[in-house]
Amino acid sequence: MSPLIINGRTEKELLKACLQGDRLAQRDIFNMYAGKMMAVCVRYSRHRLEAEDIFQDAFVKVFTHLAEFESTGSFEGWVRRIIINTAIKNNQKKSVSHEEIGLEHYKEDSAGPEVFSLLSEEELIKLISSLPDGYRMVFNLYAIEGYSHKEISELLNIEESTSRSQLLKARRMLQEKVHELYKVAI
């Protein structure tokens, strides 16, 4: 596969220029990944403003720590990890206490998985954003990013069992929310 070329420069050349402090190269790199990374930020945030803060913080880190990037791996993967770590730290900084939501609040009748496939990306993101912070983090990390429960427990500094439990609760909550959505629609 031929390398992606932006303004006549490959990603590798752009990264080299970024290391020299070339603002144009930094902007090109930013434009290359901004849309995809903003989507990640939105998924990890409760609302858009929070996502924008994470997005900007993370990209500043990307450019200030660019020298630490080892070119043996994927740059996109590296940026994504920074975004996720920034989102996790941002969540940990929140002074609000964790929301305790028991499963007894949910009804037994919930939507099946096939209902989710009918939803658009924006609707899915809205569903994720509506989850409590802890559930949202675990669900994003496990379901979308593909982290294991062990990795999640280390990232979020929680027990593995907590990660499993929160994932289960997140799924049920998503099903319940979709069920409510469809009931309204009907």
């Binding site: 849309g35 998924r43 020298a67 994720i128």
Partner: protein, 466 residues
């Protein structure tokens, strides 16, 4: 991963969201505030530079003669080779010109040619190099096969058989070179060494730093620094010499010596230095000295005068109607103990010459001598008067006829042995045992007892060279 997870992943994994307005502008503004990202190549470059400097410093320390323009003695050459080199340089200068620096590193390979083709006439250097490559790698003859067999029988050293063969062959050749004294070998060997010598001569330190400057004095490796500033503190001891022409005053001198004890003294100052010539430096600046003494005197015949006031009352019918006051003076014999710390202060301008005796990369040793031009002296404290009974103050504010001490002492001599340890290229730590001779008497000319003070001290300080 269940079905819900899969749906979310498939739909959101590569999802794009709208980029917030002015996001890049905000990031750029924050990047401008934050320090510039480190350049990956900077530490590597610094390491290479450090490695080069260490190697270069090591080379110079092993071959100090390079700094002074002498011909270095190559460790790889014996005396015969050096003699041959000298003779070859004069006979065949055109060959030296033909050999480039890159070819110098190939001297071992050139020697191999002579071994493998000893029966053939000596070719030109470039031709010889080419032939070596062909002989060893493309068309091995009998000698190559023999050497290869030997190489394969050697224990493994991590080298390839070809490389081992070359190493072994090289060693054999070196032995052979010293055994056979053919004129051809001498020709090549000397020509190559001569060029190596020329190369190292060309990178001598003085040629880098001292463009058109004459060679300056110590420290030799930093001879381009011909100015310096010293800041120092000297820890002194100043014994006192009292003398008088009148022998009757010997008692008084004894009393003075008994009552006045030398204490820790010090001097401090700064001086500028300038390299006058190869090893000579001139220094001048300002020096402050303070000599401390303790004056302790017990007057055994000291009398204390006491006034006694007596008040008598006149009574009448049990009431006080008047009072009478009478006063008496009583003298009580006793002793008086006096303890005073005397200070002799001196403000001087040193004018000193320093001669460098020895210097290397770490240390320089110098002898220093000169004069201290006294600007002013001040004294404070007490001494015994000539009557040996009365302590008198020696405090002098300004020049007056009745002062016990002078306010200006003229010239005194100074000598020291200066050791400078090079902390950095610009900063030296100084350790300087010194002595200062005071020919002029501190006491006034009209005072019967002459007082001189010679000072012995150890000075410590820093020298900044620029």
């Amino acid at each position: 991963m269940n079905n819900i997870d899969k749906i979310f992943r498939n739909k959101l994994e590569h999802h794009h969201a709208d980029i917030p307005d002015k996001a890049w502008a905000n990031i750029e503004a924050r990047l401008n505030e934050s320090p510039k990202p480190k350049n990956n190549f900077f530490p590597v470059g610094m390491m290479l530079l450090g490695l080069f400097l260490v190697s270069f410093g090591g080379y110079l320390s092993m071959n100090d003669d390079h700094l002074f323009g002498k011909i270095p003695a190559s460790s790889s050459m014996d005396n015969r080779q050096q003699n041959r080199m000298a003779s070859t340089t004069s006979v065949i200068p055109e060959v030296s010109k033909e050999i480039s620096f890159s070819q110098i590193n190939l001297s071992t390979e050139n020697k191999q040619i002579r071994f493998l083709n000893a029966e053939k006439p000596v070719p030109a250097v470039s031709e010889a190099k080419q032939r070596t490559t062909t002989t060893l790698y493309k068309s091995p003859d009998n000698s190559f096969s023999q050497s290869q067999a030997e190489a394969e029988s050697m224990p493994s050293t991590g080298m390839s058989p070809e490389r081992m063969l070359i190493e072994q062959t090289s060693n054999n050749i070196k032995t052979e070179i010293f055994r056979q004294h053919t004129s051809e070998i001498s020709y090549l060997d000397n020509a190559l060494n001569n060029n190596k010598l020329k190369f190292f001569r060309s990178i001598r330190l003085p040629s880098i730093f001292a463009k058109d400057k004459p060679v300056k004095a110590c420290p030799f490796v930093y001879d381009y620094q011909n100015k310096s500033v010293d800041v120092y503190v000297s820890h002194d001891y100043s014994p006192k010499q009292l003398s008088a022409n009148d022998s009757e005053l010997n008692t008084h001198i004894d009393m003075r010596n008994q009552t006045e004890k030398a204490l820790y003294s010090f001097s401090a100052g700064f001086r500028f230095g300038y390299n006058l010539s190869y090893k000579w430096n001139l220094h001048t600046g300002f020096n402050y000295s303070q000599t401390n003494e303790k004056f302790e005197y017990i007057d055994p015949e000291s009398n204390q005068t006491r006034i006694i006031i007596i008040k008598d009352y006149v009574y009448q019918n049990g009431k006080i109607i008047d009072s009478i006051i009478t006063q008496e003076t009583v003298t009580v014999p006793g002793t008086t103990k006096l303890k005073v710390f005397n200070k002799y202060r001196s403000y001087d301008i040193p004018v000193l010459a320093r001669y460098t005796l020895f210097a290397n990369h770490h240390l320089s040793l110098s002898a220093m001598a000169g004069v201290y031009l006294n600007v002013a002296t001040r004294q404070k404290g007490m001494i015994l008067d000539l009557d040996n009974k009365t302590p008198v103050e020696i405090y002098v504010k300004e020049k007056q006829d009745n002062n016990l001490f002078k306010t200006q002492l003229g010239v005194s001599g100074y000598a020291s042995f200066s050791m400078a340890y090079h902390l950095t290229s610009n900063v030296d730590f100084l350790l300087e045992p010194n002595v200062r001779f005071q020919p002029e008497s501190l006491s006034s000319n009209h005072y019967a007892v002459s007082q001189k003070m010679n000072t012995f001290g150890v000075s410590t300080g820093l020298r900044y060279k620029f």
